[in-house]
């Protein structure tokens, strides 16, 4: 299991982040990326010596300043489920690509993208293109929106 997969799974969960400078941030993980940059919401910042505290509605923390992250125990169980279901889901995900453009050549370029991204992203994209796609070719219309 990859540390970043665990972190990704921890989205929406509360966590504690200690920075290299000793400050700690308690908050709910909104988002993270492959650099371990993180976006927290409802944050409480604690100074290094633990005697001063700040509340902040949200904050962005650069990954390379992080020392460690403490995540709720149950998150690790969710990772396994998620990686399993993602593997199951992958092949049908290809079906989503046809949507939007009728032609295969033009779709080929975005195909890679469609596979790599999460379900939400693919869904949002499909919607945006939905109008013109439905007009130009009936082919794309039927798939992916299942």
């Amino acid at each position: 299991m990859l540390p970043l997969s665990l972190l990704k799974t921890a989205q929406g969960h509360p966590m504690l982040v200690e920075l290299k400078n000793g400050e700690t941030y308690n908050g709910h993980l909104v988002n993270c990326d492959t650099w371990m940059n993180i976006h927290l919401r409802e944050v409480i910042c604690t100074s290094k010596d633990g005697d001063r505290f700040w509340r902040m509605p949200e904050c962005y923390i650069r990954g390379n300043t992080i020392k460690y992250l403490r995540v709720p125990d149950e998150v690790i169980d969710k990772v396994q489920e998620e990686t399993k279901s993602r593997a199951d889901r992958k092949p049908p995900g290809v079906g989503g690509r046809g949507r939007g453009r009728g032609r295969d050549e033009s779709a080929a370029g975005r195909q890679a993208k469609g596979i790599g991204r999460g379900m939400e992203d693919a869904g949002a994209k499909g919607r945006g293109k939905g109008g013109p796609g439905a007009k130009s070719g009936g082919k794309g219309g039927g798939r992916g929106r299942g």
């Binding site: 299991m1 990859l2 540390p3 970043l4 997969s5 665990l6 972190l7 290299k20 371990m36 990954g63 390379n64 992080i66 020392k67 460690y68 992250l69 403490r70 995540v71 709720p72 125990d73 998150v75 690790i76």
Partner: protein
């Protein structure tokens, strides 16, 4: 590459990690990546002191950033279980100075 091979054999085993700030964290390795970021499950910190025995602080599930790791070591659980932590005395480690 070589770091990856080395840690693969330790997955699901109890390991001992020394971090750059001089902490000793013991836990079960659940995962790692190329940057030596680690997932430590059921982890606890061992706080050493010359005045009293070793204190163990429960930490739980941790992701430790590779930048912050000095040493990763295998832990012999049988040997470890036979240690009387309350009798151990040691100087705390100083942080790594860059």
């Amino acid at each position: 590459m070589s770091t990856g091979l080395g840690l693969e054999s330790l997955v699901d085993q109890t390991i001992s990690v020394i971090t750059n700030d001089g902490r000793n964290i013991v836990g079960v390795l659940r995962g790692f990546d190329q940057a030596t970021n680690l997932i430590l499950d059921e982890s606890h910190e061992r706080v050493y002191s010359t005045k009293e025995g070793v204190q163990q602080l429960v930490l739980g599930l941790y992701i430790i950033r590779g930048d912050n790791i000095s040493v990763v070591g295998e832990l012999d659980e049988d040997l470890d279980n036979n240690l009387d932590m309350s009798k151990l005395r040691a100087h705390p480690l100083k942080p790594v100075v860059h």
